[in-house]
């Protein structure tokens, strides 16, 4: 069961003659990724709408199919048959290219994600680097969309998107560095292997089970939220201010492509978070290891997705300058502190006595917490005094 898809693919590839086997293998992987994650996009929109509904004490979609499960099908059909409008003043070529430029890099990023034991399309040595590099490409798509539409809202949104995504790339990368430092490799498959059970022990060695890993996961998720333009960092879209930002002049299937790109990027970055911090396809405890590895991966993906939906249901949006401030004044120093913490942790590995181990944990937890406190006081305190209200009788 665990190796079901790997064996299936091996069998299918074996049907072809030797010279084309590589190409067939790649085509199968690519097809599987696009197919599975497009299906998941549909599922995620349903889950998000249903979940948001429940968070807001509504029912959510419930008209199309059982529990509204076919709602994404109806939405997709609607998007497909809608008129595709290109503004007369728009730069037609760039306008057409922009949605593709948003979707393609996000799909490329899946190539290196290990979605199960031995289930990555390409097992690259510098997989992590590839992932981050490709993820940075979609900014061009947003810029192109905003620029080519020749719409003021679109332009504002595009510039917001660009500034935001470039800023948040720094904390995103720096939140990942401790993992690389501890694991000593950039290959995602090997990072997952390292988070297994080892020789003995019931608990898996997930990165998130260490103090620096837990903090790193939180920081990574914050940066990932901003990187994938999700609420509370959805300034580029900002539908209450700039309507839909770069997408404002898009309609029909091109508009849907932007959403596809957004959700694919969300899954990719959730998958990366799960891979780096939550043990990828590894089970958390040994007695649950019978569950197929890809099952674990997708469960973790859904867990991260649930977190995103929960955040979206709760939080209002930040302002652009505050968003930048958060990235540079708060998240970046926090990731650096976390880097130090991870270094200390690695350096004191194999502590001889229980009190050394306890001290190690205390330092590992205390350092980021103190840093968090100090930074929140320094960055946000002057603006957030407690207020006292008077009453006139």
């Amino acid at each position: 069961m665990d190796q079901l898809f790997v064996n299936l693919k091996a069998w299918a590839v074996g049907l072809f003659p030797q010279p084309v086997q590589l190409w067939v293998s790649m085509a199968i992987s690519a097809g599987a990724i696009v197919g599975v994650f497009s299906g998941m996009f549909a599922f995620a929109t349903w889950m998000e709408r249903k979940g948001l509904g429940r968070f807001q004490n509504r029912l959510g979609p419930n008209r199309v199919g059982p529990w509204g499960l076919f709602q994404p099908v109806a939405d997709g059909l609607k998007m497909l048959i809608k008129e595709d409008i290109v503004p007369r003043a728009a730069d037609r070529g760039a306008h057409f290219l922009a949605p593709l430029l948003v979707v393609t890099p996000t799909v490329l990023a899946y190539a290196v994600l290990p979605m199960g034991r031995g289930m990555s399309a390409v097992d690259m040595e510098a997989g992590l680097l590839f992932f981050l590099a490709v993820g940075g490409l979609k900014e061009f798509g947003f810029l192109l969309a905003g620029w080519s539409s020749r719409n003021k809202y679109a332009l504002l949104g595009a510039l917001r998107a660009l500034a935001q995504m470039i800023s948040y790339e720094a904390p995103l990368v720096l939140a990942v560095v401790p993992v690389v430092m501890v694991a000593g490799t950039l290959s995602l498959a090997q990072i997952v292997e390292l988070q297994g059970f080892g020789e003995s022990g019931a608990l898996a060695h997930w990165m998130a089970f260490t103090p620096w890993g837990a903090v790193g996961f939180v920081l990574f998720m914050i940066a990932a939220t901003a990187e994938s333009n999700r609420s509370p960092f959805d300034m580029p879209e900002g539908e209450s201010e700039i309507i839909a930002g770069p997408m404002v002049e898009y309609s029909g299937f091109k508009y849907a492509l932007f959403y596809l790109g957004e959700y694919m990027g969300l899954f990719a970055v959730s998958g990366l978070g799960a891979t780096l911090f939550l043990g990828g396809w590894q089970a958390p405890v040994r007695f649950l290891a019978w569950f197929p590895s890809w099952g674990w991966f997708f469960l973790k993906l859904l867990f991260c997705l649930g977190l995103f939906i929960w955040l979206r249901a709760t939080l209002p949006r930040l302002r652009v300058d505050q968003l930048m401030g958060l990235a540079w004044k708060f998240l970046l120093p926090m990731t650096l502190i976390n880097l130090v913490g991870a270094g200390l942790w690695r350096w004191t590995e194999g502590a001889p006595a229980w009190y050394w181990e306890a001290a190690r944990w205390a330092i590992g937890l205390g350092l980021p917490i103190l840093g968090w406190r100090a930074l929140s006081a320094a960055v946000f305190r002057p603006r957030r005094r407690r207020r006292v209200y008077r009453f006139a009788e």
């Binding site: 004490n57 939080l315 968090w372 406190r373």
Partner: protein, 203 residues
């Protein structure tokens, strides 16, 4: 408690604001939404959605939508209580009622409307016509589903469309209808089944 100027007295104020650590307020908010998420599955107080076409809430007695004309007896047109006094036409704020008095063969005005039209595209359902009618003839209907196939269909209601039996009035506004019957001195129709023998005519 006396008049107050610009000096708000310093009664112990209430402190509002943030905690010392960034993110605690957000966590609190996340707790609230989680409670609502779980609560919407078991607490009917939280999930108040009424899935309208399948389930309908009972309308309160006061409920009003558009006006209707009450008739007594079996004949919707002959039994109309309306005497075409045109008070509702005059008092209607949106001027959506149009009445023409009927005349007999010799041209004398009769106490019944020849035309009674109601333009529900302008009617705002305020109920003033029902309030000012001295003959308890025009009342507010509670039927709110008035969709039609085409855009201009059923926007102008003739007296044939407006005429509703007294029993229907009793069904939707029982208290009000009983009071009206007492004022007019007529027997209230039996609930559910309209009476066989025509009750005496209204004044």
């Amino acid at each position: 408690m006396s008049g107050l100027g610009n000096n708000a007295s310093g009664t112990p104020g209430e402190e509002k604001g943030a905690s010392s650590m960034l993110g605690l307020g957000i966590l609190k908010g996340l707790g609230v939404t989680l409670r609502n998420f779980l609560g919407s599955y078991r607490d009917p107080e939280r999930l108040i959605t009424v899935e309208y076409p399948e389930e309908r809430l009972p309308l309160p007695e006061q409920s009003r939508a558009f006006p209707m004309l009450i008739y007594d007896g079996e004949d919707p047109i002959g039994g109309l209580r309306c005497v075409a006094c045109k008070i509702c036409e005059k008092e209607c704020p949106s001027q959506c009622i149009y009445i023409v008095k009927d005349r007999d063969a010799r041209g004398r005005p009769m106490k019944r409307p020849k035309i009674f039209d109601l333009d529900i595209s302008t009617c705002m359902g305020c109920g003033i016509c029902a309030e000012v009618c001295p003959f308890d003839s025009i009342k507010m209907d509670a039927a709110y589903e008035r969709s039609a196939e085409s855009r201009f269909e059923r926007l102008l209601l003739r007296k044939e469309d407006l005429a509703k039996p007294n029993a229907y009035y009793h069904k939707i506004h029982p208290t009000e209808a009983a009071e009206a019957d007492a004022r007019l001195g007529i027997a209230s129709p039996e609930p559910e089944a309209p009476p066989e023998g025509a009750p005496e005519k209204a004044a």
